[in-house]
Symmetry: C2
Subunit: 239 residues, 2 copies
DNA sequence: ACAAAAGTGTTCGTACTACACCCATGC
DNA sequence: GCATGGGTGTAGTACGAACACTTTTGT
């Protein structure tokens, strides 16, 4: 199907990148993994891990690769947010970036600077400023998307260790929604969904009554999903 | 901020397009505007209206332009869906497409073929097959997105004429969700939202009791929105 | 008078809200 | 024994689900 391609050459002069908003939940706080760039443009600025997509590389694969370069993790929860392509957002020419967000368990890996990063660190979502390119906007849009998605799909578990307490889970929702939730109602609601497996174990060595540990019951989720299930949490007051 | 750009040249060889899933509501049915292409690749195939984004043109602006070329409309409701960029999806080289969907009122314009279209027509969402490129997938994803978005924002009104009946509105929701809704509950719910202005007029010349006409009260919506309002409709049985 | 869609009210069950106290552990 | 968070029950309310009949118009 080779066609008179000549006249289209003028269009084949753009580049595209992926940028990844990597969320982690650490110490009751929702965090984002940022890198400090060692490459122009925006040399020395903090920004999202991301890079040019290679020839023949799928977009999702590129996002996974970028994530692997920073965290060493593979097969991580990852979702496309949208494309950002304002003209002039990149000094080198027309560069569209495809933004992704991923959810990782912070205890699964050690940070190590690599690629265009001279430094890698977790930053609180709430105090992010003067990032490279339009990365602040990307972070905002991704965060907004996460808030929404977690309402209708149980993706929050991706951010927690395999065994967690109900309070951990509640704090996670509170951090993402920036709300305070009511303990008893939260627990009733979550448990009534039957998505948690009681592991029969408890916390050890805490100076109070130890909490039971749970894990996410993926099999159970798939059952419910097929049946047109809709995960949703409502109540909550503004913080 | 000119930088050692040389080594990046290899990345600046891609093109990107916008493709627009234009939804319209006609005669109780949800439809999509498709064009029949008169240009390679996929000459003669039906596909989404779309084209290469111009140098210096913003993505949203490109999507508006494409829409204007087919419908003549400007300032239409438009939302980015996501980017599609599987390698090999386009014969001419690496082409990423940014998919949009728009909501239009079908009675606002006449169709006229233009640009790469030899023919333009409305197609029922339910019988769409063998489109150009990966456009079938794009349609599915856009449709899915519309179903979701209309739950939490009153964008449905974009598809209806300025004055409509409650039954029109109900049929619209039924078409989008592929559900049957219960008349009394639907009306109660919609009216209790206070988003409709009773126009004090009625249908004319129908062979039954004429229905009252309503319009969407945009001012009222903005008030509610600021106050953290959440538009939502739930009930419904699978068709 | 008949056909066709508009319009409306009530009952029932469920699910969200709000709220206060006892329990298990470490120090 | 005290401090710390874990864990639970209940009453009130609001909202969604289900359901059938009367009204207004054109022909």
């Amino acid at each position: 199907m080779a066609q008179p391609q000549k006249s289209f050459d003028a269009y084949f002069k753009s580049a595209f990148t992926v940028d990844n908003v990597i969320f982690g939940f650490d110490n009751g706080q929702l965090k984002i993994l940022l890198i400090r760039r060692n490459e122009a443009p925006f040399d020395n600025y903090w920004g999202l891990p991301g890079y040019f997509v290679r020839e023949g590389e799928d977009l999702d694969a590129a996002a996974q690769r970028v994530l692997r370069e920073v965290t060493g993790l593979k097969d991580v929860y990852l979702e496309q947010v949208k494309a950002f392509g304002t003209p002039g957002r990149h000094d080198f020419g027309r560069v569209i970036t495809i933004a992704y967000y991923s959810l990782v368990k912070v205890e699964d890996f050690e940070l190590h600077a690599a690629g265009v990063a001279q430094e890698v660190a977790w930053h609180s979502v709430s105090d992010i400023e003067s990032l490279a390119f339009d990365h602040e906007e990307i972070v905002q849009v991704a965060f907004h998307r996460l808030k929404r998605s977690i309402r209708s799909r149980p993706i929050g578990f991706e951010l927690l260790p395999p065994a967690f307490t109900l309070t951990d889970l509640q704090h996670l929702y509170e951090a993402i929604w920036e709300l305070d939730l009511e303990k008893r109602n939260f627990r009733k609601k979550i448990l009534s969904m039957n998505l948690l497996k009681d592991l029969g174990r408890s916390q050890k060595g805490v100076a109070h009554r130890p909490a039971k540990l749970y894990s996410f019951d993926e099999g159970r989720y798939r059952e419910l999903e097929e049946d047109g299930f809709n995960f949703e949490l409502k109540e909550g007051k503004r913080k």
